[in-house]
Symmetry: C2
């Protein structure tokens, strides 16, 4: 994929135009490409490799906690989608409809799944009979369609890849525990793999998922201080079960309605990754998710022994379990440096004739640009140590951004002013009423992000209406 890459491609500075910077990174780092299908994107090999690593991390966590994978149909009959009222109201406006199969018009049109609660419930109504059948802990890796008017790489696709977990439990307590556990799995992925700090909390009724009783969320802060919802986990109560006629006999032989959850995380998180860690030289990937953790580059490649020395380093790192590649192409050193900076490879390992004399190599960190000379005897231990440091450094920088730009506010005007002048998350008390959310949206341009699990008592009253406060809430401008 080298094409005309003799010259280094430039990207827009994020301070000049953040949106343009973002799109530049997505395309020039070869994560994504536009297609002839409006609103849909290709995940190119490098972008998809990031998603594969996210899949591997999450899938292992799901399986450790007893979840199993399944595959449901991609099409949903309209009548099935309509069984749960709140749900269909939420999704019908953005469904894509299959109306013809081959040359025939279908008797009933079919929706390309925007999410699969209805399919899981339909299946469960066939297979659930007794308390022995519960819990059912299912997950599905697939793509879903939402017919959005506008699109943006990773952040808003008409089709996006995700996983959707769907579980069914005998009791509300169990279902709520599952909802919480899965949110924590997402938070763990973000913090410990993607180096993205999160705020854990609950969505307001206005912002919760269509048909859910409760939606939990993790909220991340981007470089531009906007919010990105990282993953959500929903508790449905027994609403879906009743709508789909799912019941089980309990140990006392009484008929009961089971309790349902669902939870999802999508390729959107890759957009979050880019906007959390990227810089003006391109993508910056946290080491635990990077498809290539280190690239070995021979310096003055045609000098005797250099290529063999570089290959030796490559083999040693590969043996040590590092995801490593070697670039022995004819491109210039300048081109190679820029290329792997653009691609966000955490470490560049260079070796040339002078290094060989000194029995060392030079390792350059993508995050800080710092160069260190490492004795060849310490190659593996130093690479492992540096990868850990990069992860830690990226996490800390993002955590500082989040902490530095989270502000308390005590009136709607103050909230508005902070958002306009500084951006970030604004925390205020809140009465719990929809009207105050609508006011905040209309007058300050912010939506509620979540009622954080970690509450603070900032005041006794809601700063918007003056009524007694029920919670502390986070506001922000969201992707």
């Amino acid at each position: 994929m080298a094409k005309e890459k003799k010259q280094v491609e430039q990207i827009t500075d994020m301070e000049v135009d953040f949106a343009k910077w973002y799109t530049d990174v997505c395309t020039k780092a070869e994560l994504i490409d536009y297609t002839s299908t409006k609103g849909m994107f290709i995940l190119r090999p490098y972008g998809y490799a990031i998603w594969e690593n996210i899949q591997k991390e999450l899938d292992a966590r799901f399986k450790e906690t007893g979840h199993v994978n399944v595959a449901m149909p991609m099409l949903i009959p309209e009548s099935l989608l309509q069984k749960e009222k709140d749900h269909v109201e939420g999704f019908a406006p953005e469904c894509a409809w299959v109306t013809h199969g081959g040359s025939e018009k279908l008797e009933e049109r079919l929706c390309v799944r925007p999410t699969s609660e209805t399919l899981f419930c339909d299946h469960w109504s066939h297979i659930v009979h007794s308390w022995r059948d519960l819990p059912l802990l299912y997950n599905q890796w697939c793509s879903v369609l939402r017919w959005e008017k506008t699109s943006r790489p990773f952040l808003r696709h008409r089709e996006f890849l995700w996983q959707e977990g769907h579980t069914l439990h005998a009791t509300a307590e169990e279902a709520i525990a599952e909802t919480e556990q899965q949110l924590e799995t997402y938070a763990d992925l973000c913090e410990n793999v993607l180096a993205m700090p999160v705020v854990r909390g609950q969505k307001t009724d206005k912002e919760k998922f269509a048909g859910a009783e409760r939606t939990y969320t993790i909220e991340c802060m981007m470089h531009d201080r906007k919010a990105l919802q990282g993953g959500t986990s929903h508790y449905f109560g027994d609403g879906f079960a009743k709508a789909f006629d799912i019941s089980y006999t309990d140990k006392e032989n009484k008929l009961q309605a089971p309790h349902e959850t669902s939870w999802g995380l999508s390729t959107r998180i890759i957009g979050g990754l880019i906007m959390t860690h990227g810089d003006n030289r391109g993508l910056v990937l946290p080491p635990r998710i990077a498809p290539t953790q280190a690239v070995v580059i021979p310096v003055a490649m045609h000098k005797e022994g250099v290529l063999a020395a570089a290959e030796g380093l490559y083999e040693r790192l590969k043996t040590a379990g590092i995801r490593v590649k070697i670039d022995d192409s004819e491109q210039s050193m300048g081109w190679k440096a820029a290329e792997y900076e653009m691609k966000g490879v955490p470490l560049r390992v260079e070796i040339g004739p002078k290094d060989m004399e000194k029995e060392q190599c030079c390792i350059c960190r993508r995050d800080s640009g710092e160069k260190v000379f490492v004795p060849l005897t310490e190659l593996e231990t130093e690479v492992v140590r540096l990868l850990e440091e990069v992860h830690k450094g990226l996490y800390e920088r993002a955590a500082k951004n989040l902490a530095d730009h989270t502000y308390p506010a005590f009136s709607l005007e103050e909230a508005k002013q902070i958002q306009e002048e500084k951006g970030g998350f604004i925390k205020t008390m809140w009465c719990g009423e929809l009207q105050c959310e609508l006011d905040m949206k209309e007058k300050a341009g912010m939506t509620s992000r979540c009622i954080p699990f970690v509450q603070e008592h900032l005041a006794d009253t809601c700063p918007i209406c003056g009524k007694p406060a029920k919670h502390m809430i986070y506001w922000g401008v969201a992707y």
Copy 2:
């Protein structure tokens, strides 16, 4: 998922009704379930786990040979699908069409992908410029839609899961080598993982993929002696490249059209697996693909020490890397034996008070029903050895079925008679003309399966028309 499983479920004998036996196995082994979306199925956890193992095996092989995964859109604009004439003619009759997004009618209708050659070519036309960009070795794991009139678990779904590889090469030689290599990868999966012997060969022009110059295939024989196409690999020449305006400048700076391949293997192979190895007690899974390779069952579970002993065996096998589970439920021994037979688990490891006294356990093979008593000290080595033996035994039994039911024939009438009386693969010479294929179909009800790579000289002339023979060909009745 225990529901009313106090009694053992019965399945139809395959000698009584093979089709019914097959469907019984698919549903009672909990591989699949019917859905409210006509012609579409759910892959239940146990069925999907088999597919996950197939994915793992194939994906590793693809990556070892330099292939990378991508994600293309699931919808194809009609105009894009129409760019390659033979291709659209082949697929248009079975496309499902999206005509509405939200409440709006689309300007151009979109086909749910039946296969993605057109999308890959469209993308490549943007990114391929120079010989340096080649080869491109891509693969995609996804589902595709084909609007079939009838459906059957695994064998014929309107939606099925598969992988589709798509590659682009500078020369025809390279592309043909890729086509052959990938067919061999499928053959390796079948023979060495799924214990399914295959016949490797080339499809006739009549049976090749829409738009391809050549289609290679592996053909498997089922218990009922019908053929099942296991996987196919296509060489397209430069037809698609020209239709999609893909070109590259070679080392002499001349503009050239690159050569394309594609290759696919789907969940259909699970149907093949069932019909190759299953028996009247249910599914029989080859150990290398079985989600559970061994199940540990405590006998007289409530006697002192039995449960702990069984758990000990479970832990030891798990540590040894065996995919093992333990069934310490309250179900009867009879129920448990029948359940794991139905599910095709290769080995049942039982331990009770008498075994404990003798410091042994009893291992029962699913394939042969044979029971062996194994000293506890030899547990791991014996389990590993038995799993290998089961694989070998299954492969040999299937290979014998294939060999015993492959017959030469020297006239159309003889071919017809053998098929009617015995079933199987009939090998004859063939002139290479379409008319003789049509005659064989009309008069003997058989399609050509392949021109096998390993040729024999049975006669000088085509037994159908009497003209000089070009090849030996296999005929059969296919799923």
